[in-house]
Amino acid sequence: MTITVIVVALALCAVMLFYMAVRSRRKKAGQSFHPVDLSAFRTLIDRDDELFMKEKLPRSKFVRLKRQRIRVTARYVGRIASNASAVLHVSAAVRLSPMPEVASAAAQVTELAAQIRIQCLVALAKLSLEYAMPSLQLTPALLVPRYQTLRENVRRLGDLQTQNQIPLASAI
């Protein structure tokens, strides 16, 4: 009987998931880029001052502040992930360009955006762990240089695409 309940619950979860997928697809149709202030993000994930705070502040206050910081960092990571996803979508279309250099640059951008997306998942997992255990220090350090490289590659792709007059790189 238990296994029957599990199987039926799984099927119902599947139906819910499909409904949510349709809804999120409709929302994504109007998806846009969210700018990210990388220097601010760098400051947020730089944990050198954390040791100082840990020493000087009472534990309860330190935990509260650290959790606040993690929440803001997670929002940044979410934005980066969302931008990487949007870049994946746009570059996938540009990959079909008849100009080989444009197609090649788009392929590079796609690959990088995919890697960033994975990094974001790892970063969010690390942040969740830190949120649960504030004494941990698991900085998502790789994200900033990778995202910077993505911006540069997107800018290069925009330069190659003569018809694309809108500065995509500045949008992210």
């Binding site: 349709v22 996803s85 979508h89 995919a114 998942l121």
Partner: protein, 246 residues
């Protein structure tokens, strides 16, 4: 109108929809990009024809129906693999990781399916119940893999092409409803069994409509209009700065 009559009408309606879908597949030459899906649809049409022809002969109908269902489930899994390839092939970095996750998940689902067979085999007396149990196990794997496909593409932020999304959605909806049907149909009264058969028929027709809709509607082009204007960017940057300084 009795339940049996509604099921019969639904069956006829689904055959009409399958013919329309087969024609749409031929017209759009979909078999070039989705050979497994085209094979699945043509096989469903073949199954509908053969089971309709054998409807009067109970024994022949039973064997024809369950043989076709088995082949249909195998083809369904081939369609899932085709969708996976289609979604992840442009992203080699993600594909490697996704393949690893999928292998592990398929193994877990097969183990769960084996658990279903092991725990329920004692109650499954007779050929019909054994067949239902096998169908339940196979559908369980199919639904699980389709769910994982949706979850992983969401986690990786992938955008599905319209027709790929439609194929996965239609297949997933039908497989999920069929999983509930084959799981519960052996445990309920004949009147409720009829309701489950009706739900299965409706879900299959709905899936056919989803496939038809997603195949026939034109793909939404990616336009540069999605890229925001400079003024908007400044506003957003301001909002982010406010968020940090909070």
């Amino acid at each position: 109108m009795s339940g049996r009559l509604i099921i019969h009408d639904l069956w006829i309606g689904s055959i009409v929809l399958q013919v329309a879908l087969a024609m749409a597949l031929l017209e759009k030459r979909t078999w070039r990009n989705f050979p497994a899906f085209a094979a699945y649809i043509f096989f469903c049409l073949f199954e509908a024809g053969i089971t309709y022809a054998l409807f009067g002969n109970k024994v022949a109908y039973f064997w024809a129906f369950w043989t076709c269902e088995t082949i249909g489930i195998v083809l369904g899994l081939a369609v899932v693999r085709e969708i996976f390839t289609n979604v992840f092939s442009p992203h080699p970095a993600l594909r490697k990781l996704a393949t690893m996750i999928f292998r592990a998940a398929v193994m877990a689902l097969v183990l769960l399916a084996c658990g279903v067979i092991y725990t329920q085999s004692a109650n499954a007396k007779g050929m019909a119940n054994a067949v239902l149990l096998a169908a339940e196990a196979a559908r369980l794997v199919e639904v699980g893999v389709i769910m994982l496909l949706f979850l992983s593409s969401t986690a990786f932020g992938l955008h599905w092409r319209q027709n790929v999304f439609g194929i996965a959605l239609g297949l997933g909806m039908f497989a999920a409803v069929d999983l509930v049907t084959v799981t519960l149909i052996g445990h309920v009264s004949p009147a409720t069994q009829l309701a489950f058969r009706l739900a299965r028929g409706i879900s299959f027709s709905t899936s056919l409509l989803i496939w038809l809709g997603y195949l026939l509607l034109p793909e939404r082009a990616t336009s540069s209009a999605e890229i925001p204007k400079q003024a908007q960017l400044e506003q957003w940057n301001q909002a982010v700065m406010e968020l940090i300084s909070r």
